[in-house]
Symmetry: D2
Subunit: 115 residues, 4 copies
């Protein structure tokens, strides 16, 4: 069992013990995930890119906590819709390698849209 | 080496080969993550909760791909800000167990704000 | 001068008095807008659609405040990128009337993607 | 009748003609708004702040369209939850004037969290 599967099982048990499955529809979890991702963006919004590369300890800690929330909701949603997250990421990486060949994508933000 | 560390290393190599580190400031990656999380929310926005629990194959596939993107940017951001995602999630789960004791949180969306 | 133009001028004066133009790049304002829109989504995330149609007073007040923030950043961003928001909305509505003819779009969430 | 009220009435008629009120619960509209705000962020995500201050025509046009969508969903949501957007923004501006007095907030991103 991998570490992500362990987290998935813990989250499942946590929700079941609290009878939260009724709230954890995929639709609601996708909303919660988007909200957490925005909370993670918030501490960066007025920083320059340079400042974002060397965060102060309090900022770094706040960001670490928001990243945890994003992972938690992502893993919980993946459980509900029966997606193997790591397999999905591997498939996407294989596509990206085709879509952004090194020689063409090199140093270009124009070619670049996302991974 | 865990599967998440393997993904982190692959993403790092992918970005380096394309000279994309210049675009991958934590600020920009946090934006990209928020954008992908919203793209994941999009297919759910007009569904009922019930419909979101039994997705059609095309929707399920689109959602799987967006989940991959969210994980990819989350892992890439974690690498840039030197966060151990799984350790952060474990810490957050320990806090949540304190914050939402079973007997109080049971079946309550009011108590419930996030994990 | 319309009410939106008045708000735009007030926001401009507010930012200038505080020397905030340096933070108010279009990129940063677009981030702030996305963050506020997610904060507006947050109070809805665990509600049923039915519950969202009859909000409690405290929820309604919180939502009113978040809507104000969204409008404020939207008007501020429009000022920075020199967009006439109402004209842009009118143009979009004309497109939507073409894209979603009444007889085809009637009652269909499938046809429906956005306005 | 102000221009925002006119837009509100047009959107209401548009939705009614298509029998879309069933999809336009406040919860769903808040999701759609968050999705559109993220789509507005997307074209900025890899730009520098400097680049975002002088957009290319194609980018500027894309951004104008996304801003229209954000306004449309905001006005539609305000209609459903019976919020007067401009009055809400005026109230928020009065609060902000108290919260960020000129002499303290001047040029400071630290004091600054939002409007």
């Amino acid at each position: 069992m991998t570490e992500v599967q362990r987290l998935r099982d813990e989250l499942r048990a946590f929700a079941e013990a609290r009878d939260w499955d009724q709230f954890h529809s995929p639709k609601n979890l996708a909303s919660a995930l988007a909200v957490e991702a925005a909370e993670l963006l918030e501490p960066f919004q007025w920083l320059t890119e340079e400042q974002s590369r060397s965060l102060e300890p309090a900022q770094a800690e706040a960001i670490r906590r928001e990243m945890a929330d994003v992972l938690i909701y992502l893993v919980r949603l993946a459980d509900q819709v029966e997606v193997d997250l790591l397999a999905a990421a591997r498939d996407k990486m294989a596509e990206n390698a085709q879509k952004y060949p090194v020689e063409k994508a090199r140093g270009s933000a124009r070619k670049y849209s996302d991974f």
